[in-house]
């Protein structure tokens, strides 16, 4: 719970006897550690030293006279990408120094970053492979584990097909690990390969990519120092991205920037704001349209920007007209004059940046929310400028990179999609036959009136989102649009408490034939169900125990050095993936161009393969050599511009971490792109335009037979130094020829293009040109290989081309549902999305009467994600000992709930309930409750500590918020509704 640490007495009153199970008691720090079984280690050892010895040990457990090595890595928690400087003696991580040289954190850490050393001391880590034998955890060896798992997978494949095995990957992988895992899924023959981006920013990626081309943060944390107005909506960065606040608060102080926080909860971020706006959860689109109503009404929009660089804003304008101050206040609860003030500030005091997180994305309307935010930025001309932009703060340390690497059910690596051209591109990069890959996929028979699918059709169809794997397991085979329902889960680095409807998940877990959890810690998956057999735990090391690159939220790619060898019997992802590929019989093909040493693929070589295929996203220029040079010269990069001075050896002129796109081959030394779509810079200095991804014109056909044609190319806007001074489409060999630029290609480049193109070389595009020639020539002429387009205010290919407000499925405002219903039921991602039926049933049953409080969820600074790793870290566990619910003072008084007392939070589905402590506070408004989502290990009042393998149980356990959260999925990405449901709260 958020408590003031200085007031020791007050905070102790809230501590519970967590280690003793459900019994409540008062624990101070020392008793806490002792009863958690921690005192046997460091605390007791140091406590027993004489005072003299303690004084000598002041600098830490560094041994005098022993050679120390400094290793540089990156914090493995959030996406900010703070540098970590580790001091190592005799292979032991003995000290941690401030990373003053990193331009991202400049010597700072949050609680998590300051305690990462504990991850590799790891007394709660999974120590060796284990399997469940008749309900008992049993130690086994790696060879036995890989053999048994592989045999079972092959058995399932023969009986139910490749799609019956689900590959759930991780944002904790390095880029190289994520890429290998996606490749493993492709060689296995399924597109059901996913990771945490599904549940954090899948809607962001879909929303922004459909607006202006790429699915990523447009600017950077550092660049927020240039902003004049900073808006946070659904982002509590002070807790979720603590060190980012360093840049925000410096900018606020130095520029006197406005800092506006829109959130249902008065968060720690809101505490720093110049203006706080409380909204009703789930009304983001209404809020944004309400702001834009004032902007259009008063002519505050950027007319030139819209005319030159935006298509379809008139359609948005028509929708916005419905959101006058009265209707906006009726739906959102925000007073009209406050929203007008915020709108005016955002439009006039530029540059303005808009920051959003999971408060915006985790909704049934997540993609539409994101596109509304983009429209606000576009209308005010705040994209493609320093100090502006969509600063999307992503979650885990490599969630951006893992998304880029295609751990996504809708795409191969680097956003090539799943179309035939994409498969053929990667087949060329991997040097395997396209037909071999196709043969790995299932043929799907006709089921329940749905047509059959060929192998080719199946390999081009998106897989099942991680939010619904359990539906795909427990649904009848006929209801899942693939050969059979799911039978096996291969879970690498993903928590089991991260998705709503956990009671449904537990039932599905018990139905699986095979469950494999590969992780440094046994996650909720391994403890929550009543499984007795067919369950394996594989110890994977952390990123501090291996090498590789990771992409921070701002697209900067940082290389991490190995600090220590993998502890206990753990192995890194590379080796485990290689061993599975070997067992499954395709390692030779899969690792054809990747060097393998002692069963371990070399990460540098994996990155080189990524470079060879990653043209579409500009992942081609970041060679391991360049990234390592950036690590060596970290201190040379500017705190605000992220750029190294031109005269610095090796990295001169580069932006830190070569943020993608870093165009062309490494040797042309593109500096990376600090700010996407910035026409004020030459493309060779990281300049850009909006990406021409959706053709050159769009004909909008209306129901009455008329139609409007929209020009999708930019008009009169182009990046600095461009030889083309108007919009242009993406480049192909044919277009180079028309411009006469093909003569700039070398003979070798033309030969490669001709070979790829076969009968039609003119159609070879910049993104599949393995020679990099088309890109190189484009850069020399000052143009972007991907074209120069308008951003799309209306995304015609999506369910609501212009976002419209839709009430959450479980809404307290039943009066608004008739006017603003959720979308109709429909089949998406191989299953029925029955949101409309669920909303209708909730109204008919009067759920809002029995469950009158809105429940929302979010992060705490001390923990991360599902929380097993951080709850196993004694320094963090001490700081947050209890799962809790924030309940408004009025709601608590009405229910006789006391601050610190136990309560039951019950949800509207499955008779779900969770026993947690009450934090009575006005941080949440009346009728709103908040729960953090990092807890697990208790389930509906039952302590499951005994279900973990001995010695691996996290120190802190607690109920998961997702035990009581409910149905609801975004139609575009399958994102769950994690931020709005209904609940009831009663004293326990």
């Amino acid at each position: 719970m958020l408590t003031k640490r200085k007031e020791a007495v007050a905070s102790r009153a809230r501590l519970s006897g967590l280690a003793a199970g459900l019994a409540s008691g008062v624990l101070d720090r020392r008793s806490f550690l002792r009863r958690s079984g921690l005192a046997a280690g460091g605390v007791a050892a140091i406590g027993s030293l004489s005072l003299g010895a303690v004084r000598k040990a002041e600098a830490g457990p560094v041994v005098a006279g022993v050679k120390s090595e400094i290793k540089k890595n990156v914090c493995t928690h959030c996406s900010v990408g703070c540098g970590v400087v580790a001091e190592v003696q005799n292979g032991v991580w003995v000290g941690q120094e401030p990373a003053y040289d990193s331009p991202i954190n400049r010597g700072s850490h949050c609680a998590k970053g300051a305690s990462v050393r504990e991850l590799v001391h790891g007394d709660r880590r999974l120590k060796y492979p284990m399997k469940l034998v008749n309900g008992e955890w049993t130690r086994i060896g790696w060879d036995q584990a890989i053999n048994e798992i592989g045999d079972k997978m092959n058995e399932i494949r023969a009986k139910s097909g490749a799609d019956s095995v689900y590959w759930l990957g991780s944002a904790k992988f390095s880029n190289e690990g994520a890429y290998l895992f996606r490749k493993l899924g492709a060689f296995w023959g399924t597109n059901s390969v996913d990771h945490q981006a599904r549940i954090c920013h899948s809607t962001t990626v879909a929303g922004v990519a459909n607006t202006w081309g790429y699915g990523a943060q447009t600017n950077s944390y550092n660049d927020i120092r240039n902003a004049k107005t900073i808006v946070f909506m659904g982002s509590n960065a002070a807790e979720a991205h603590p060190v980012s606040l360093q840049h925000v608060l410096s900018g606020k102080e130095i520029n006197r920037a406005n800092m506006i926080v829109l959130d249902p909860r008065f968060t720690r971020t809101a505490a720093h704001a110049t203006e706080y706006v409380r909204i009703r959860p789930g009304t983001d689109i209404a809020v944004i349209w309400g702001m834009m109503w004032h902007i259009f009404k008063n002519g505050w929009e950027d007319k030139e920007f819209i005319a030159q660089r935006v298509a379809g804003m008139d359609l948005v304008r028509a929708e916005v007209e419905k959101w006058g101050p009265e209707e906006t206040e009726r739906v959102t609860g925000i007073p009209g004059d406050q929203l007008k003030r915020v709108a005016e500030t955002f439009a006039k005091q530029r540059p303005s940046t808009f920051i959003w997180c999971m408060g915006g994305t985790q909704h049934t309307v997540g993609t539409a929310n994101v596109r509304a935010y983009c429209n606000l930025l576009l209308a005010t001309g705040n994209v493609g400028v320093f100090g502006g932009g969509a600063n999307i703060f992503r979650g885990h340390c490599n969630v951006q990179g893992a998304t880029d690497m295609g751990l996504d059910i809708t795409s191969l690596p680097l956003y090539y999609g799943l179309v035939e051209g994409a498969w053929k591109h990667w087949a060329r990069v991997w040097e395997v036959e396209y037909d071999f890959l196709q043969a790995r996929f299932d043929e799907v028979p006709a089921k329940s009136g749905r047509p059959a699918r060929t192998r080719k059709e199946n390999m081009e169809l998106p897989g099942i989102p991680s939010t619904r794997w359990f539906d795909a397991t427990s649904f009848k085979s006929d209801d899942v649009d693939q050969r059979d329902s799911l039978k096996a889960m291969m879970i690498f680095g993903h928590g089991g408490n991260t998705v709503p409807r956990m009671p449904d998940m537990v039932k599905a877990l018990e139905q699986l034939e095979l469950l494999v959890v590969a992780d440094p810690h046994p996650t909720t998956f391994s403890a929550i169900s009543g499984r007795k057999n067919g369950t394996y735990l594989l110890p994977i090391c952390t990123q501090f125990e291996t090498e590789g690159s990771r992409s921070a939220s701002n697209r900067s790619i940082q290389w991490g050095e190995k600090v220590v060898n993998p502890i206990f019997e753990s192995k890194d992802d590379y080796e485990v993936i290689y061993r599975f590929a070997t067992k499954l019989g395709f390692a030779d093909k899969m690792f054809k161009n990747i060097k393998v040493e002692n069963n371990r693929p070399v990460p540098e070589d994996i990155l080189r393969e990524i470079n060879r295929g990653g043209w579409s996203t500009g992942y081609s220029g970041q060679s391991p050599e360049r990234l390592k040079a950036h690590l060596r010269h970290r201190e040379k990069f500017d705190l605000v511009t992220l750029r190294a001075p031109a005269d610095v050896p090796e990295v001169g002129g580069d932006y830190y971490g070569l943020p993608w796109p870093c165009w062309g081959k490494p040797e042309i030394r593109h500096p990376g792109t600090h700010t996407l779509y910035n026409t004020n810079l030459h493309v060779k200095d990281g300049g850009g335009t909006f990406r021409a991804r959706f053709g050159t014109v769009y004909e909008d056909k209306k129901a009455d037979g008329t139609s409007t044609t929209y020009n999708l190319l930019a008009e009169g806007s182009y990046s600095k130094g461009s030889e083309l001074t108007d919009g242009y489409p993406e480049f192909t060999y044919g277009i180079l020829k028309k411009l006469g630029w093909d003569k700039d290609l070398t003979e070798d480049e033309v030969a490669t293009i001709t070979k790829i193109g076969g009968a039609n070389p003119d159609a070879v595009g910049w993104a599949i040109d393995l020679s990099g020639g088309i890109i190189r020539v484009c850069l020399d002429h000052g143009v972007l290989p991907y074209g120069n387009a308008k951003a799309r205010a209306a995304a015609w290919n999506l369910p609501d081309p212009v976002p419209v407000h839709r009430e959450p499925i479980y809404t307290p405002r039943v009066d608004l549902v008739a006017k603003y219903p959720t979308r109709p039921d429909g089949r998406q991602f191989r299953m029925m999305n029955a949101g409309f039926s669920v909303q209708k049933a909730a109204i008919e049953k009067g759920i809002a009467k029995d469950f009158p409080i809105i429940l929302t969820s979010g992060r705490l600074v001390e923990y991360e994600g599902g929380g097993e790793e951080t709850r196993s870290n004694k320094w963090l566990a001490e700081l947050q000992q209890d799962m809790f619910v924030e309940i408004n003072t009025a709601d608590a008084a009405q229910r006789g709930i006391a601050d610190g007392g136990w309560v039951w939070v019950s949800g509207p589905e499955n008779k779900s309930k969770a026993k947690v402590k009450a934090l009575v506070t006005d941080r949440v408004g009346k009728g709103v409750a908040f729960m953090p989502f990092h807890f697990g290990g208790w389930f509906q009042g039952v302590d499951q500590r005994g279900n973990y393998p001995k010695g691996t149980d996290p120190i802190v356990l607690g109920e998961s918020v997702n035990t009581v959260t409910t149905y609801g999925y975004d139609p575009v990405t399958g994102m769950h509704e994690g931020k709005v449901t209904l609940c009831q709260i009663q004293a326990a």
Partner: protein
């Protein structure tokens, strides 16, 4: 259990423990600032809440690299 009793039992409070135990806490400049003090002296309530800011080398470096 009060703070005083806790110290009698183990001889160290939280602050001293961090100081003695680990470089992990160095990042918080205020913790570093106390680094030169003896480890185990018992503190009264007023001592515990007194201003501890000292402009150490770590603090100066932090200001320099962050352009304060």
């Amino acid at each position: 259990m009060s703070k005083v009793e806790q110290k009698k039992e183990g001889g160290m409070d939280r602050r001293s423990f961090f100081r003695a135990g680990s470089g992990a806490a160095v990042a918080a400049a205020t913790v570093v600032a106390t680094g030169a003090e003896p480890a185990a002296a018992a503190e009264s309530a007023s001592e515990r809440t007194k201003a501890r800011y000292k402009e150490t080398e770590h603090v100066k470096t932090f200001y320099r690299v962050n352009r304060y």
